[in-house]
């Protein structure tokens, strides 16, 4: 890589570069996940693992994984159909839905955990700890910049 880079062509914007990375990562992840659990998507796998850790309502989970509530409704429905999740109306507030993982869902998580770990290791194996911290810091800056006009 040269010292002076040109960031002024459409194919050199951050959006472009980040998109390239995330698509490559998703492809790798989906590939490895499908080897142990066919028929689960990367999104569903992440959601399953997050729900296991956090006992929250549907929209709280949606916020955690950056999903629109409408998307969340549909993803949860698909995961119920596959017997990974259960959903019941909250007793104290009937607008809310609580999501639980089924026994089968927990078995799936057992299979997924090492794969998720492996995916991360593969993707990051050539990065130093310093670079990893830089990455998080820079991404966080960009995220904050983008959120200014929104709330």
């Amino acid at each position: 890589m040269s010292n002076k880079m040109n960031f002024n062509t459409p194919t050199s914007t951050v959006l472009y570069s980040i998109e390239e990375t995330i698509k490559a990562y998703r492809k790798l992840s989906q590939h490895n996940i499908s080897n142990v659990v066919p028929n689960i998507t990367v999104d569903q796998a992440l959601i399953l693992i997050i729900i296991e850790r956090e006992d929250k309502t549907q929209s709280e989970i949606a916020d955690l994984v950056f999903k629109d509530y409408a998307s969340m409704t549909r993803i949860v429905q698909l995961m119920i159909n596959k017997n990974y999740l259960l959903k019941n109306i909250d007793d104290t507030d009937k607008r809310r839905t609580n999501i639980k993982i089924t026994k089968y869902g927990k078995e799936i998580i057992e299979k997924l955990d090492p794969i998720i770990k492996k995916n991360r290791e593969m993707a990051l194996k050539t990065l130093s700890d310093k670079e990893l911290e830089q990455l998080f810091k820079i991404l966080n800056k960009i995220t904050q910049n983008c959120k200014i006009i929104q709330q």
Copy 2:
């Protein structure tokens, strides 16, 4: 940010962090683009601008914007419906389709150019040149790591 970060929870993976950033960026971009050109998506805007610079076939453009060929077929069709693009079968190889921008499409590009520039500036305004280079370098490393098993 503390010196020692914990990268072992699902919500601290790169996939997760990158996803957060790209979604914030997309939201900002879509918001600003919609102010000048209603009814165009971020993807369509990028594709329009890339086609203007590169006179290529549909699948070559798809590769440039990291789109699946199937997605590309559909996006191009929508952009033809909106009178941004024209498509004709290549004379020398009738399997190929050449994509051209209409006059109307070029007018749209005129409106989009400053917005795209502004989006980039907003997203990156707190980043130093050094950080920008670090970001590209790190993202590129991750992308390469993810591509190893694929071809």
